[in-house]
Symmetry: C2
Subunit: 242 residues, 2 copies
């Protein structure tokens, strides 16, 4: 028993390479999960997508469940980070919500970093499962609070915030089912349209646009949120064939 990977000395190139490979695998697995779902993504598929042998995956993760766990965990962390960033801003509730919606779609649709936060499965060990559900609830609670505060200050119409937040998150999460990076709509365009519609349903007053005006950079430029959003949404396969 010699120096382990994590306690290796000084520079730690090996540790860095190890972590980099882990991320590569997570990216490939996320893409695979998004494309084929969890159950239909075999370890052999993930390995092929990550350009590794199936056996080698087990040098980086304990098993399939751990890969899924980290996919969801990092995505949830990014969702929560975007949420808290929005909360700290001194803008209207509508503009905060817009940032959350746009960030959410980016986390879920992005071709490179996008993962599958929504693919919770009973296949996960109970401990990990509970941790994810808790984190997900924290996120949902936060978004709901955003709606509640908007309702309190009269910006939003009175409504059941628990229902509104689930309608919004449902619309966002379902997008991975039909989104096609080669289609006619970029992820950024979808995000804009969704935000317009989903926020309008909450507004008390028609309010011309309700896009951020003083803080226009919140949503622009689109290529900052979706740097590689060059492919487009296809018209023909309305729903994915999954």
């Amino acid at each position: 028993m010699t120096k382990s990977r994590l306690t290796s000395r000084s520079d730690g190139r090996v540790a860095r390479r190890y972590l980099a490979r882990r991320l590569e695998i997570l990216r490939a697995a996320g893409k695979q999960f998004r494309a084929s779902g969890f159950a239909d993504s075999g370890m052999r598929d993930i390995a092929a997508a990550a350009d590794l042998s199936p056996a080698n995956l087990y040098n980086y993760f304990q098993g399939k469940h751990e890969i899924l766990f980290f996919c969801q965990d990092v995505t949830l962390d990014r969702l929560i980070a975007a949420l808290e960033k929005a909360r700290r801003l001194k803008v209207s509730a509508a503009e905060k919500l817009r940032l959350v919606i746009v960030s959410h779609l980016r986390c879920v649709l992005d071709e490179i970093e996008g993962s599958a936060a929504h693919l919770l499965t009973t296949a996960l060990p109970t401990r990990l499962q509970r941790s994810l559900v808790l984190k997900r609830d924290r996120y949902e609670d936060g978004v709901r609070q955003l709606i509640v505060s908007g309702t309190r200050n009269g910006e939003f119409v009175p409504c059941d915030p628990a229902l509104a937040v689930r309608a919004i998150l449902g619309a966002l999460n379902w997008s991975v089912r039909w989104f096609n990076p080669d289609g006619t709509l970029t992820a950024a365009e979808i995000a804009e349209g969704f935000a317009d519609y989903l926020i309008r349903g909450l507004l008390a007053k028609p309010a011309s646009l309700h896009r951020p005006s003083t803080t226009r950079n919140l949503q622009r430029p689109a290529h900052k949120f979706f740097p590689q959003a060059t492919r487009r949404h296809d018209e023909v396969p309305r729903f994915s064939e999954r």
Copy 2:
């Protein structure tokens, strides 16, 4: 080779019993699919839910894929039927859309008849797959036309109908992920709240309620759409553990 089941003579009790059993199986399978997803619902689970031996399932369906196909097919037929009923009504676009939304949630959440129109999987043979996708597109097209006509007559705000319809259907379809028949909200209550919010996002004018007034029976009584909606939505497991 004697008389087959379908060509059996006169009264045809056997044929009726056969079809009834088929429906029982479809109901049990639909419940199972909704609860555990397609991949995690084994033939042995479906058989247990339908109170049959696994082998006996193959006397009624060619295989698992055919069970899924019929589950989705009958659900899509019901969705399209509700859509066309709404289109024939002489009411506002908002009220038509409300009927479609409420019917959709009923088709998807109902504890007895509800199925899983959204569980398209690559596991289906190409022929069946295409048939379902086509039907699903017909439904989506119809709902989008509803939005377009509402926009044309000034009732709805100008927007991208393709995005709006996907946001709406996404919110509706995602509901099976978190809906809990034992929870605090009945399916009918969810339908009302969702319809309020999702339609408000399209309206050009705030328009107090926009529930059907002259045709109040379109949405009332709730127990007509959800005859057995007595169980309630739970508060704790925000997302299903699937």
